[in-house]
């Protein structure tokens, strides 16, 4: 049965929703609820897609292909692989939570705002399902436009500088990728990702790496990150660090590693070293950050380093762990940013010295923040532990040094997370925390708790993702020192 329409529907539904929101003169409340309904419908569509997906099959599924312009063999080609379906799931869930949060918090100029959020949803889903290089680039850039507006219009006082940094960094990387796409596509005679063979060109590889390394971000290209995450509204930060950064990790996996086996082998060491540096550096900065969002932002840098370590281990354990950790970190950082937003609403600051003692009389806030934080610091038994363990075991094959650095970073993660939790929840009430500040409201809980609930489910059953990302390959140890992705065939 042809089910490719489902993939297209996943892209088009939010885009159509955006147009509806923009064009119909609805009232603010109606706009927000329409956007939320569409976001939830998107989640339902995704569940339908998962139900139809055969996790034992290797090839592209739910695919649809339509020629776009034939003289250069560019087509609209979309479809799912095992790992991409989880990332799309992460996208639709986090975006629904973000829209729900914005609906509750209230945003000025709601029609423009929700339209852009929906457009962003469609663009990110597009990035994860595009199977044509040019189409991938189109969605990649289409992702940037709504983000530019969302940060620049609804951001904090320093938003103009933040957007400038963000856009210049990402576009510098993206345009190098465009040059790479032109060269790769024309030299292969097709832009199709499924049909194209592999390439051995280091320069083309570096063009792609530039785009993904900036977006992830990979140390030392993270200068845009702290300002952007601090100046955005909390739900946009949640989307940025939870989902958009995963698009970069997905790019590493789907294009850089799968299409450039030679250059990946050649340049693996510098990339792994940078990832390890980012992991340690980000963790230390997170520990030193004076504000709530700073901690989450830098921990995001660290986690992206960890995920990159797993990806460039290029073996079963590393890849499976990386995919699991992408989903984990997406949910964790989204939940943390939304919680940070909730705390900012109550204390009017996210300066850690001005916060404290919020657990007293606020059991819901304390429970949710505590649960998320404990999962984030990868306590054994949690899904983040499963992901990080798989990554470290995977990268151990490449060099035990990386695994040692990674393990040290897990200790650092415990330090910065516990510092965050105690600075917000424990100690004496801070100067900005008034007695009257309320506990999490039901609306906030209904947005954040589902994210945490998914994390708990994954903690009980991480194999839901690790066994279903790359077909017919359980998590098996690789012979040390051999760089041949045995799952090469599993990589599209």
């Amino acid at each position: 049965m042809d089910t490719g329409w489902l993939t297209t529907a996943l892209i088009l539904l939010p885009v159509a929703g955006a147009l509806v929101v923009w064009l119909l003169p609805l009232r603010p409340f109606a706009v927000g609820s329409t956007a939320l309904l569409i976001a939830l419908a998107e989640v339902a569509l995704w569940i339908d897609a998962v139900a139809r997906f055969d996790f034992d099959e290797r090839g592209l599924q739910l695919g649809q292909r339509q020629s776009w312009f034939s003289d250069l063999n560019v087509s609209y080609h979309v479809g799912f692989y095992g790992f991409s379906i989880w990332l799309v799931g992460l996208t639709v869930v986090v975006l629904a939570a973000a829209i729900g949060y914005a609906f509750w918090a209230g945003r000025e100029r709601p029609r423009a705002y929700y339209g852009l959020m929906l457009l962003l949803t469609g663009a990110i889903v597009g990035v994860f399902v595009a199977q044509d290089l040019l189409l991938f680039y189109v969605f990649w850039e289409a992702m940037l436009v709504p983000l530019y507006f969302l940060v620049g219009v609804w951001g904090g006082a320093g938003r103009l500088r933040a957007t400038l940094l963000f856009v210049i960094y990402t576009m510098a990387g993206s345009l190098l990728m465009l040059a790479s796409i032109v060269v790769l596509g024309l030299s292969q005679g097709t832009f199709d990702l499924v049909g194209a063979g592999t390439s051995g060109s280091t320069w083309i590889f570096l063009g792609f790496i530039a785009a993904f390394a900036v977006k992830a971000p990979l140390f030392p290209l993270h200068a845009w990150l702290p300002e952007t995450y601090r100046e955005s509204s909390p739900e946009v930060s949640a989307v940025l660090s939870g989902v958009v950064s995963k698009a970069a990790a997905y790019g590493f996996l789907r294009i850089a590693i799968a299409k450039f086996p030679g250059p990946t082998a050649d340049l693996r060491t510098p990339i792994l070293v940078l990832a390890a540096c980012g992991l340690v550096y980000g963790s230390i900065l997170a520990f030193r950050a004076p504000d709530l969002r700073g901690v989450i932002a830098y921990s995001s840098l660290a986690q992206m380093g960890l995920i990159t370590l797993g990806l460039f281990a290029v073996n079963d354990l590393g890849l499976n762990g990386a995919v699991l950790q992408m989903v984990n970190h997406g949910l964790i950082s989204a939940a943390l940013f939304l919680l940070a937003g909730a705390i900012e609403r109550r204390a009017a600051t996210d300066d850690l010295t001005a916060l404290g003692g919020m657990a007293r009389g606020r059991p819901a806030l304390a429970t949710v923040l505590m649960t998320t934080g404990v999962i984030a610091l990868a306590v054994p038994g949690s899904t983040a532990f499963a992901g990080e363990f798989a990554i470290l075991a995977g990268v151990f094959d490449t060099g035990w040094g990386y695994a040692v650095v990674g393990a040290a970073a897990i200790v650092l993660a415990a330090m910065y997370m516990l510092r965050l939790i105690s600075a917000v929840l424990h100690r004496e009430p801070g100067p900005s925390v008034s007695e009257a500040a309320l506990d999490l409201r039901p609306a906030e809980l209904s947005v954040i708790v589902p994210l945490v609930a998914i994390l708990l489910v994954l903690s009980a059953w991480p194999a839901a993702i690790t066994d279903r990302s790359f077909p017919d390959a359980g998590v098996t140890a690789r012979p040390a020192g051999i760089f041949v992705p045995t799952r090469e065939s599993a990589l599209p």
């Binding site: 003289d71 289409a142 345009l175």
Partner: protein
């Protein structure tokens, strides 16, 4: 006694677009005399719009009915799809420019003459697009240039308008002189005026290293470079674009550039295939210079018209990359690129015109503050045009850039792709700067004086033009296949 003159066979259909525009201009001159003063504005606009619409339809018919390129009227002009498609682009830009002109606060005295001149300039461009000899090339170029010289200076009340006209006249004449001199040298070297015969003679007599011919070629590129406002022939562009009435600027920036670049492609490919190794490098160098000058100078502009002028220089650079590729893909890239480019260019100047009328002052980046929220349609349109200029997806600007890069790569010039990519990266700063001004700042924040005069006038014609430009900009992204197919047929008229 019957006087028997040996006259060439005239293919009137090939001239139909030119004739339609000439007729519109003529009718407008009569209207300037016979129509009562109060009605002239609307009559003039309608007649000119009909002329451009007629040229558009005639161009489409010509395109459909001319599968094989051939010379007509003693080979003076070429009847081919390249000319037909260019005519359609010019006519489309003209239509949009008429919509922009309608509410322009010029005095009613010369309004019909204004529309007559616009139509005639369009006629000259349609003629030039089909030029097949050096003679018709110069004729067409001067024809539309003279119309534009007057149009730049037509609004004598406007500060800088006369200056713009004079500047354009002097510098433009210099460019025309270069073109004429170059033509004379080429004729001197080969003894031929027709483009394809020049190529034949060069091949037969092995003239490809002839000093006269090469000098002539260089001067031809320079002369056309003036009209296309490519660096280093761009000096007039910012001043003229700023000083001229905005609708005239809109028309000039789109149609003049389109026709100058297409003619450059036609001349170089048809008349000078043996010199390709020379002119590809030259044109690539001019392209790089245009990209550098246009983008770097645009970074520091505060006046929006000047910024758009520099941006148009940089886009000339992008399109020259396509020409320098010297392959069919490059021809396709140029013709495709022109379609969204012209729409975005006229469209953005139209929005500038609307804001100018609202403020009664030149539009700067600062006084755009809050514009996007006050005027949703115009704001979204200008934002889309800026994103399109910057080559973001969901606009044809992206596909155009992609094709240009593809053409450069196919020629084997990966370095030119890198130059183009770097130029695009620089251009983001000023294009996104406009969006930032419109949406992310408020007039209160910048402490600007509020706009006086209540709500802005309803400008149906202008809004229709802007909407049309928006539809073309976005539509050309989705409808790449039919447009590129048309561009392919048009480029097939040339002997690649």
């Amino acid at each position: 006694m019957i006087l028997a003159l040996d006259t060439p066979q005239i293919d009137w259909a090939a001239l139909a677009p030119t004739l339609a525009l000439l007729a519109a201009g003529g009718v407008n001159l009569f209207a300037a005399v016979f129509v009562p003063r109060g009605d002239r504005r609307v009559v003039g606009a309608i007649v000119a719009a009909l002329g451009f619409a007629g040229a558009l339809v005639a161009g489409a018919l010509l395109f459909a009915q001319t599968p094989d390129a051939h010379g007509v009227i003693a080979d003076a002009i070429q009847r081919d799809r390249l000319g037909a498609l260019t005519t359609m682009i010019v006519a489309g830009s003209g239509l949009l420019a008429i919509g922009t002109s309608y509410r322009e606060p010029t005095s009613d005295d010369h309004i019909c003459e204004y529309y007559a001149l616009v139509a005639w300039a369009g006629a000259g461009m349609a003629f030039l697009a089909t030029a097949g000899t050096l003679l018709t090339l110069f004729l067409g170029l001067e024809w539309f240039s003279i119309g534009l010289y007057i149009l730049c200076a037509i609004d004598r009340e406007l500060v800088g308008s006369l200056e713009a006209g004079l500047k354009y006249l002097i510098v433009g004449s210099f460019g025309s002189a270069m073109l004429l001199f170059g033509s004379a040298l080429v004729y001197g070297a080969t003894g031929r005026l027709e483009f394809h015969e020049i190529a034949q003679v060069v091949q037969q007599q092995n003239l490809s290293d002839d000093a006269l011919l090469v000098a002539g070629l260089a001067l031809l590129i320079g002369g056309l470079g003036f009209k296309a406002s490519a660096a280093p022939f761009h000096m007039w562009t910012p001043d003229v674009y700023e000083g001229a009435p905005t609708p005239v600027t809109a028309f000039m920036s789109a149609a003049t550039k389109a026709v100058a670049l297409v003619v450059m492609l036609r001349v170089l490919v048809t008349a000078f295939p043996q010199e390709a190794r020379l002119w590809t490098v030259t044109v690539a160098a001019v392209a790089c210079a245009s990209l550098a000058v246009g983008n770097l100078a645009a970074l520091v502009q505060r006046n929006l018209k000047r910024m758009l002028a520099y941006s148009s220089i940089s886009h000339a650079g992008f399109m020259l990359i396509a020409i320098s590729a010297d392959n069919a893909l490059g021809g396709r890239a140029l013709l495709y690129y022109l379609i969204p480019y012209c729409a975005m260019s006229v469209g953005s100047f139209a929005v500038v015109a609307a804001r100018e009328r609202e403020l009664n002052a030149p539009v700067t980046i600062d006084n755009l503050a809050g514009f996007g929220w006050e005027r949703p349609l115009l704001g979204v349109a200008l934002a889309t045009f800026m994103l399109g200029f910057a080559g973001f997806p969901l606009t044809g600007g992206f596909v155009g850039k992609f094709y240009v890069f593809a053409a450069a790569y196919e020629h084997g010039w990966t370095w030119l792709v890198i130059v183009g990519v770097a130029a695009t990266a620089v251009s983001l700063y000023y294009y996104l700067g406009v969006i930032r001004a419109m949406y992310m700042r408020s007039a209160a924040e910048l402490q600007l004086a509020p706009v006086l005069g209540g709500s802005p006038p309803r400008e149906l014609a202008l809004q229709t033009a802007v909407t049309g430009a928006l539809v073309v900009t976005v539509g050309s992204f989705f409808a790449v296949q039919p447009l590129i197919e048309a561009a392919k047929h048009a480029a097939a008229s040339l002997p690649f």
